[in-house]
């Protein structure tokens, strides 16, 4: 191995160690915990009983299904909305483009807890936004707080900046000459989009879909505050196990299930969208 290669590995070592010690090792400990008996279930030795317990109860199956469904719905809304926005933003340059990107980054930096407070006020039937509309008889009380729709609305808002930024980066990498070449060959606006922009942007659509879905499935704050006890997802279920029922083993199993389902979803998303990606 050359000196340059050795140096590269030495430089990579701290980050790899950080990952191994602060993520790999803890996750291993968590998965080990998930195989242990607990106050509800007594079994001997490491076994999958906690998982089969969660997977055999309708209530938990509902939680699992709700987690995936909400993440899926969020993704289905966010990707088209974000793609259109990224298409429009990509033509902005210089100061305007920069401001637009800053505007998208800002909610990320302000933090989801702050944002969710806004949603609590905006979505409340008697709140300052919907309240007057309800009173004026313009709409019937939509009862968004505590509903799946309310959670999904806030999730879409939470993930959109990430979705747009990912798609924007991808779209900016397509050389403008590609469009000019297609135009010179007689392609109309629609044809240019279908035959040039869309196929070339598919890799970034793939990564945006993975990021969007993962963020939505792992979100804690939106389902906790806007969904409440009636709309438990795997993340809020984990916190219930730890903070309300004190069942560390079931919490670990629920977290393990979440990781597994997210991994499976990434595989499925990659397979589905990846089929359309040309080398």
């Amino acid at each position: 191995m050359s000196a340059a290669r050795t140096l590269d590995w030495l430089l990579l070592l701290p980050s790899l160690l950080l990952l191994a010690l602060l993520m790999g090792l803890p996750l291993a400990a968590m998965l080990a915990t998930s195989l242990q008996p607990n106050v509800l279930l007594s079994f001997t030795g490491p076994a999958l009983d906690n998982y089969s317990y969660l997977l055999s109860r309708g209530y938990y199956l509902q939680v699992i299904w709700r987690t995936l469904r909400m993440a899926g719905e969020t993704t289905l809304f966010a990707i088209p909305l974000g793609y259109l926005a990224a298409m429009l933003l990509r033509n902005l340059s210089g100061r305007a483009g920069n401001l637009a990107i800053m505007g998208l980054t800002f909610p990320i930096l302000a933090g989801p807890l702050t944002v969710v407070l806004g949603w609590m006020a905006l979505l409340a039937d008697g709140g300052p936004f919907l309240g007057p509309l309800v009173e004026a008889g313009l709409i019937s009380p939509p009862r968004l707080l505590g509903s799946e729709a309310g959670v999904v609305i806030s999730l879409v808002q939470f993930v959109l900046p990430f979705t747009v930024l990912t798609l924007y980066t991808g779209l900016r990498q397509i050389q403008p000459q590609m469009h000019e070449a297609a135009q010179s060959l007689g392609a109309s606006g629609t044809a240019r989009f279908l035959h040039v922009t869309l196929p070339l942007s598919l890799p970034s659509v793939l990564s945006a879909t993975i990021i969007t879905f993962s963020l939505a499935a792992s979100s804690f704050i939106s389902p906790h505050y806007l969904g409440g006890a009636g709309q438990l997802t795997l993340t809020t279920l984990v916190s219930q196990f730890i903070m309300a029922t004190f069942n560390a083993e079931l919490a670990a199993a629920a977290a393990g299930l979440l990781l597994l389902l997210m991994l499976a979803s990434v595989v499925v998303i990659t397979a589905v969208i990846g089929r359309f990606v040309r080398p």
Partner: protein, 263 residues
């Protein structure tokens, strides 16, 4: 027709930005509402909720804890991310596996923060120790590291490694080259990486969820606990101050460091 398309596009963007930033603006507006419940109709303008924060010392001390955790976690993250990004960007670096390595290093992004928090809690209990302050720093460091990596990689993409060779041919040893050439040129991305990580860590709730004790409560955790018991516009005032700080940092980063968050 073209004009119409442009108008429609502009309108769409305005609505999208309103949707994305609306909740934040609403929180800020709420923080000036004298009504004692939350959410409530607007009844006027007051600064009393900001004054009320001063009556709650736990918010201030929690902000201090958050700042300390964020500073330590971001320092670690930027340090290791810088070394990794440098190795991944060098032209002599092994081209094979470079993309795979970057993906691996970005993997904490895809692990739910609640799960990171739980995993560190359970590692500590497996070892029979309390998580304490350092468990908190660990969770935050591993989570923000990929963000630092991304920003520093973007900075390095514009870095001409030939300047290092120029410095060496002119008699600068590797230490002098780093001090005189490499670090000054990469300082904007390092500062940006640190600031970005600091804010992300400072405002994060789920990472700390299972890792805080009475002495180590972060600001989001104190807000979380406060909201569990009651909710009034004071919490909106706290949130507004965070928004203000994050906004100032974003603008400063743009103004003075010309940092582009995307290429």
């Amino acid at each position: 027709m073209k004009m119409f398309g442009k108008l429609a596009g502009g309108l769409y963007l305005v609505l999208l930005y309103l949707f994305v930033a609306g909740p934040l603006l609403f929180v800020i507006a709420t923080s000036f509402n004298p009504a004692t419940s939350f959410p409530a109709r607007f009844e006027g303008l007051t600064l009393s909720w900001y004054a009320a924060i001063l009556q709650r010392p736990e918010f201030l001390s929690a902000a201090g804890t958050s700042a300390l955790v964020a500073a330590l976690a971001s320092t670690v993250a930027v340090l290791v991310a810088f070394l990794a990004a440098y190795a991944l960007s060098r032209r002599s670096g092994g081209a094979g596996g470079r993309g795979a390595m970057a993906t691996l290093l970005a993997s904490p992004l895809l692990v739910p923060q609640v799960v990171i928090s739980l995993a560190i809690l359970q590692l500590a209990s497996a070892w029979g120790v309390g998580t304490g302050f350092w468990g908190l720093v660990a969770a935050h460091a591993v989570y923000v590291m990929p963000f630092a990596l991304r920003l520093i990689l973007t900075g390095l993409a514009r870095f001409d490694f030939a300047v290092e060779e120029a410095s060496r041919s002119l008699g600068g040893g590797w230490l002098a080259t780093w001090r005189e050439v490499t670090l000054p040129l990469l300082r904007p991305s390092l500062v940006a990486g640190f600031t970005f990580c600091f804010i992300l860590s400072f405002v994060n709730l789920p990472l700390s969820l299972f890792l805080t004790g009475p002495d180590t409560a972060t600001l989001p955790i104190v807000m979380f606990a406060y909201i569990e018991s009651r909710i009034d516009p004071m919490i909106a005032a706290v949130a507004s101050l965070i928004v203000l700080a994050a906004g100032t940092a974003t603008i400063l980063l743009d103004r003075f460091l010309h940092v582009r968050l995307v290429d």
